[in-house]
Symmetry: C2
Subunit: 325 residues, 2 copies
């Protein structure tokens, strides 16, 4: 892209969104001053049209999703959102209305989640629209919740409900596949388009959890990664995994979609591992924060991970590793 077109886009759509730390997006760099006794938690997520969202999704939705998937990582680490940079790779032919929608969606979520745009880059691409966000969260020194701290005996929790977004994607890709009530379909598709980062869980995770991560690539795969990073295994009760009424409705139509729900991506819920003595306080703190959590299993010292079906038999999954779209 020409330097002057980049300059115009930034001046018109993004500089008005930028916080003081972004220096009005007029400099090459942003400046981030830490508060005493705090550290920065840093996360990066890239999203590509046709892979992580549909190219014709509304620009507001794309902006919001790119920010929210990064916020979800900060939530899982117990970090408070502070700032982010945005790199936009733009195909030719996007109309001014697209940029207006993008800036509007981004600005609305920035205000809602209290995070400032401090810099970025805008370049041309001959490929699909792509975005990279790097987000900065603040956490008290030594207080970040890692992925690797789970200990044998910890209870395994998951927030919210699982599988909504994966089944929403099924509906979006094959609108005639499931004869769902309109409200269920809307719910599933909305969960795919607008993940809800669980920022409210931050304090409870910092206070009680040995380990946590957000579920972006499917519960089965991501929980496997958390346990592997912790050098542990575990037993998970599939019947305990929380499903929404819409997912239950979809599974009653097509029971084999249970695997999609458990292994599909884009949940953006939080898995956490909490020692037994802290479970009751953790549950109370989450309830006070207004976020539903559900205990689904237990961490065990050997490295085996067993998913147990309602009848007690061990489950296996055809493709525990999730591919987007």
């Amino acid at each position: 892209m020409g330097a002057s077109r980049e300059h115009d886009l930034i001046a018109r759509y993004f500089a008005p969104l930028a916080g003081p730390e972004g220096l009005g997006l007029l400099d090459d760099a942003a400046l981030l001053a830490p508060r005493a006794g705090h550290e920065w938690v840093i996360t990066t997520d890239a999203l590509v049209a046709g892979v992580h969202f549909f190219a014709d999704d509304p620009a507001e939705i794309i902006a919001g999703k790119a920010l929210r998937v990064n916020l979800s990582d900060l939530a899982a680490k117990g970090a408070r959102p502070r700032a982010f940079t945005l790199a936009l790779m733009l195909p030719q032919g996007l109309e001014p209305g697209w940029f207006e929608g993008f800036a509007k969606g981004l600005g609305a979520d920035m205000a809602r989640f209290g995070i400032a745009l401090i810099g970025g880059d805008t370049v041309a691409t001959t490929g699909p629209l792509a975005l990279t966000i790097t987000a900065f969260g603040e956490v008290g020194e030594g207080r970040m919740v890692t992925r690797s701290g789970a200990v044998s005996g910890d209870a395994i929790y998951v927030s919210g409900t699982i599988g909504d977004a994966a089944l929403g994607l099924v509906c979006l890709k094959s609108p005639d596949r499931l004869a769902l009530a309109a409200r269920h379909r809307r719910h599933l598709e909305a969960r795919y388009h607008r993940p809800e980062p669980r920022m409210a869980l931050g304090a409870a995770l910092r206070t009680h959890a040995h380990a946590a991560m957000d579920v972006s690539d499917g519960l089965v795969g991501d929980l496997g990664r958390l346990l592997a990073a912790s050098g542990q295994g575990g037993i998970i009760e599939a019947a305990a995994v929380p499903f929404s009424p819409a997912v239950h409705a979809a599974l009653s139509l097509e029971p084999t979609l249970e695997e999609t729900a458990l292994t599909g991506g884009d949940d953006y819920e939080i898995i956490s591992c909490v020692p037994p003595h802290a479970c009751s306080a953790f549950e109370q703190d989450c309830a006070r924060a207004g976020v539903k959590i559900t205990r689904i299993g237990v961490v065990q010292a050997h490295r085996l991970i067993t998913w147990r079906a309602a009848d007690g038999s061990a489950m296996s999954f055809a493709s525990p590793a999730y591919s987007h779209l």
Copy 2:
């Protein structure tokens, strides 16, 4: 990309490069603890194949360039490189050898410039290869050199030589256009492929410069942006702009390429504005740092920017705003 392929790529090629702050790239996030009395300078640059580099450039070159253009921004701000995140958008069909080359090139430059890989993301794209790097530099509190601090009367300096990379790109795109000696052609093409971030200038800039920025989109356009951000104008003597022997040789073959040299991109040299009383000390400090700098003009209070040719006439440029490739 499948989550397990992403996991394999990270484990095999990138985790070995990651510093301790990257938590072995096993977590969702990195942790960056500031030193007392310091701030983070943050910069983001995105590069797309076919726009910022050639898709068939060696992977080592691509990795190095992506890191170096970000380092150049840190250099211009007087910041010491510390860490970076890398988001890779990968087309299908890249061979293991490509990743080996990429990791090798990245690792070599990480060692050379003393910067740690602390996180990132790896996703699939149906488009060209693209990369986003967000780099973190450290600077003493309040010591970042901004783009907006130039004051009337400041001398305008530029480091190194200008136009090499833009003419290198001319050679790469039209190998038969210029009948240059092989050593000149090699020099120009190398400057395009391997920018040399001027990290050694950091202390001199922090100590003496009112304003600085790196030249990524052409000297004419970028100097214009610095002066505009400072609310100033200036007079620049085109004859004073430092050219390498290879650029001189190219201009003697095709004099109209002077505009390409002055307005073309990818120089990654540093423009700085230094008050008159500090010029002599600044020049000495740069000489001690081993980086050539050249005084090319003066900042003036009115907002007009005049480029003066050797005969004293005002120059104009057909396309001061640079487009990559």
